[in-house]
Amino acid sequence: MLRRDFLKALAASLVVYQQPLLAMNNGEKQPPKVVWVMLRGALDALHTVVPTFESSMKIHRPTLYPSIEHKLLPLAQVSSMQQGYALHPALVNLHQWYQQKQLLPIVAVSSGYPKRSHFEAQDYLESALPVPDLDSGWLARAIALKNKQAIAIAQSTPISLRGSNQHSNTWYPSRLPDAEQQTYQALQQLYQDSPQLLTRLEEGLNMEALLGEKNMQKKQQGSFISLSKSCGQLLSQPTMDCAMLTLGGWDTHKNQTGQLQRQLSLLDKGLQALKTELGEQWDNTLVIVATEFGRTVKENGTRGTDHGTASALFLAGGKIQGGQILGKWPGLQAEQLHQQRDLKATSHHFDWIAASLQQHWQLTDQQVQHIFPTAKVYQGKMFRA
């Protein structure tokens, strides 16, 4: 973009940003919103959406399964076809969402990435291309096509949102007092020949204006809960369509019971905080929670689990077709496992993400093909009327 165009666009967006505070509270229905939550480190799905009907769980996981077995939160079965799953005891709010038909867990999914490196697998999940392009994320392609605005709650743009600079931004709380206004003006002059720095500076100033003084006063490095809360506030603006959150700490090679208890509780409370902030917009929101891959079916020698293949995916929102479990269960018998060690994937993340995004944002088949070239789009209805 030429600098002049950029400044024009910037001026326009500044005007837009000044309106929302008024528009925000009157409960008007805003355009559909998306929250993309990435759990980095590989969540152990068998410890999260637990297949209680598998009698071999205790054999595969002699210490891990008994640690939660009697406290699990059962998920009601929609039909007799469906088997008995249960949620980890820490997922109190998500369990309630499920009962309100606002949570849709999908089991045995993978990104299609065949190996077990965190970093490559995350690239796959964020890029959604057969050969990951670190400068082109699926969410970026979607917002560019639909001319939507996105914000990543992060220090810098994650891969998911790369490739659509005009449409996305980053925000992360800082703990320092603000520099003086004059310094910003001088910096704009200093960056006259450095377009990249100038862009970043303008974006940063926009963000701070957007969040308002109230938030800036109690600047704190965020825990996931407060980041989720800020995310909800930012997303409540009518001009903001989409946000990305990440939560790490899922690589549970060792003593995973306690670690997952803490992590899942954090996730549960954070998502609840997001819902609370979104208020009436919750009915208008699609939340997607995914992790790069699953973990070994058997626990390892140190009360943890190693890198595996299939994991679980969560869709949520006020109108999601929740209260049921989707995804074909591959089974836990030796011959049913992938390479005799991992839960086998029976579908890919993007089959489901593509379907929900298509229905939520009214994408054409062609657009879906562009955003998710590898997806076999799920054909069922993802939302309730």
């Binding site: 965190h118 931004n169 800082s174 320092l176 003086e180 310094t183 390892n300 020698g301």
Partner: protein, 485 residues
Amino acid sequence: MAMQGSKKEFFNATIATQRFALGARPDEIKKINDNAQQWLLTQLDASPTVTFDHALATANSILIAHTEFTKNRKAFRKQQADKTIPTAMAEMDSANQMSEMQAMSSESKEPEKSKEPKNPHNDFYKALTADALKQTIESENSFNWRCLAFFSNHFSVSAQGQLMTGLAPTLEREAIAPNLYGHFDELLLAVCQHPAMLIYLNNENSIGPSTRFAKKNRGLNENLAREILELHTLGVDGGYQQQDVTELAKGITGWSVFKPGKDKQQGFIYHKGKHEPGTRTLLGKSYPPQGLSQGKQMLKDIANHPSTARFVSTKIVQSFISDQAPEELVNHLTTQWIKTNGHLKSVFQALINHPLSWQTQQQKYKTPYEYVISTYRALAVKKLNIRQVQNALNTLGQRPFKAGSPAGYSDQQQDWDGASALMARVNWASQIAGKKQFAKTNINILIENTFSNTLSTHSYQVITRAESRQQALTLLLLSPEFLTR
């Protein structure tokens, strides 16, 4: 970028201090003059390459302190639990007695209600990282410190949990610094036998599955083996399979860490009985059962594998020179690596001597670490307050040993140049510039000492025409020429 002057030597001196080392201290550029390459090559011969305060804690002393701490805490908690058992009457009685006793003897300073033993690890972490930061900021061999930081991040260990908080900073001091310019296989072995790495990646409890020590919840853990192959040596595309991960994991079963009070020997311990017996096959090569030597030979071979040479050479070029590593330079380093069996000094000599390393265009955006260190080096504070440096790294997002992942911190521009990250630097720089100790900074001298004559005319004018000294210093620290290297 338009340059003011044209004296080539000062370009090279600035590049040597900014790109290769960690930023110029006030007299450094003048001292280097037209000997930029020689200045760097000489550092490779420094002995020791970097200096630490050896009076500080070591991995061994931290492990001993940890055992002591957990023992005392357990005893304390047991004591507390026992105390709550007596009836309320007895408690009241004892409380009365206590206050009487205390009233009678004002000398009894030790109240009955003792405090829970203090976790020592935060103090270890603070002291050890403070030492490294101070030495780095004050060093005359800051190229060596960049090389150390590179490998410390290549073999990233994270300060997470009580024990690792104290232990993480010891890896670079004890395993990496002594092997900084030796052969890579020696460096790899030292790292893989160091308590910090063994504990961080869970190898200290990894037990051969067919040994008598294996039980239903005690056995193999492949975490360290996988990261060695993926992150430390071959790279994820280096041509290994899941089978190779498992085989290497078995090859290093029994590689563990001494238990204070139980083991006589300190540091690395090899438990023969927990080592998986039998022949291992890694990347198609067989390794007969030879106890400890089996795993050592496996590590040596992957350290000298051509994939390792290319993977680490690429990382070096990306880290030192450009995110888009020039193929020619990577090939040059890889060739040198293979020719010298991974002799790191030769590899760095190759980097220093190649013209592609000296292009005038600044192609690297400083990480928060580089940014903070180079700021403090440029300002050459007399009474350095290390807490400030530690807080700065915290605020800007790169606390030492807090990457939280064995892949370490990224040094690519796209991971650090977000809008919010820049705002954090703006706020930090203006706060630093507002400190009383810099109120008298002569901005022209600082520009000359930091950039020589390489600052663009535009930046020079905006900075020197700032409305206050404080603003001039803020702008200098935020200029494109200082944010990049």
